[in-house]
């Protein structure tokens, strides 16, 4: 990650990787994810580490037997960082819990991931104020060098505004391995 700071602005640049199944033609821009189980709702999803992008391809982009990794620079000073910024992480956690709690109290129903993300990004209109969210899940340690020790974060980024995606280009192609 590179930070350019001036008197007027701070721009954060991150290299990131986008995984898609192989098609007849290479992509010129990332594909918007509309999966129901997408953690942070509709947006352009990127991995911060190439290794995670490759594993995701083997795991979930198997339809054509091959997948491709694209590389891009994400440039923005307006991405909610729930991974490395403690204040932003606590803030994000509190907002999710606040919405979930009120939803449950009023309806007796538990909202799922997609509903809560839709609530924050669309109903509360965060999408008009931030460019994306950086977050990490909790791997069980299966992919780590130390067996069973989840010492590393698997970091993803959702980008809501394509203007933050610069220099999007083909990086590598892989043949899908058998599922593990």
């Amino acid at each position: 990650m590179i930070i350019f700071a001036s008197k007027f602005e701070t721009i954060v640049k991150r290299d990131a990787y986008h995984t898609q199944r192989k098609e007849a033609k290479q992509l010129k821009k990332p594909i918007m994810c509309k999966r129901n189980d997408a953690w942070l709702g509709e947006g352009f999803y990127f991995w911060i580490e190439e290794g995670d992008a490759i594993k995701w391809g083997h795991q979930s982009k198997r339809e054509t037997g091959y997948f491709e990794i694209y590389k891009a620079n994400i440039e923005s000073d307006n991405i909610l960082d729930t991974v490395f910024d403690e204040e932003q992480y606590n803030f994000w956690k509190n907002q999710i819990e606040k919405v979930s709690k009120q939803c449950f109290q009023e309806t007796g129903k538990k909202a799922n991931i997609k509903y809560i993300c839709d609530y924050l990004t669309n109903r509360a209109d965060w999408i008009s104020k931030i460019d994306g969210i950086l977050f990490a899940d909790s791997p069980k340690g299966m992919d780590c060098l130390v067996d069973g020790f989840p010492y590393r974060k698997r970091i993803q980024m959702v980008i809501y505004h394509i203007c933050c995606v610069k220099n999007f280009s083909f990086h590598k192609e892989f043949k899908c391995k058998k599922p593990w």
Binding site: A24, D81, K98, E106, T107, K114, Y119, R123, A124, I130
Partner: protein
């Protein structure tokens, strides 16, 4: 920079307007969107698969033609990329 106070205010103001009815209506709408998205995604994936296989087939036909004529390496490279 991300303005946390502004984001929090947006959430609080939205939550303050909610009623039991609006929550239920919203959950219902989300549920409908989920179904529509699932159906749309499934159908689009199927169409994409068809397009992919048909493009591979047509490229294979072109490549076999090139092999017979032995014209250039370029289509062969395309075939390698597609395969």
């Amino acid at each position: 920079m991300v303005n946390l106070k502004e984001l929090e205010k947006m959430v609080d103001e939205t939550l303050a307007k909610e009623t039991k009815e609006s929550w239920n209506k919203w959950l219902e709408e989300e549920s409908m969107k989920e179904v529509e998205s699932f159906l749309g995604y499934g159908i689009l994936s199927y169409i994409d698969d068809c397009k992919f296989h048909s493009s591979i087939q047509s490229e294979c036909i072109n490549v076999s033609y090139v092999f017979e004529k032995d014209n250039s390496d370029e289509p062969y490279n395309d075939y390698k990329n597609a395969a």
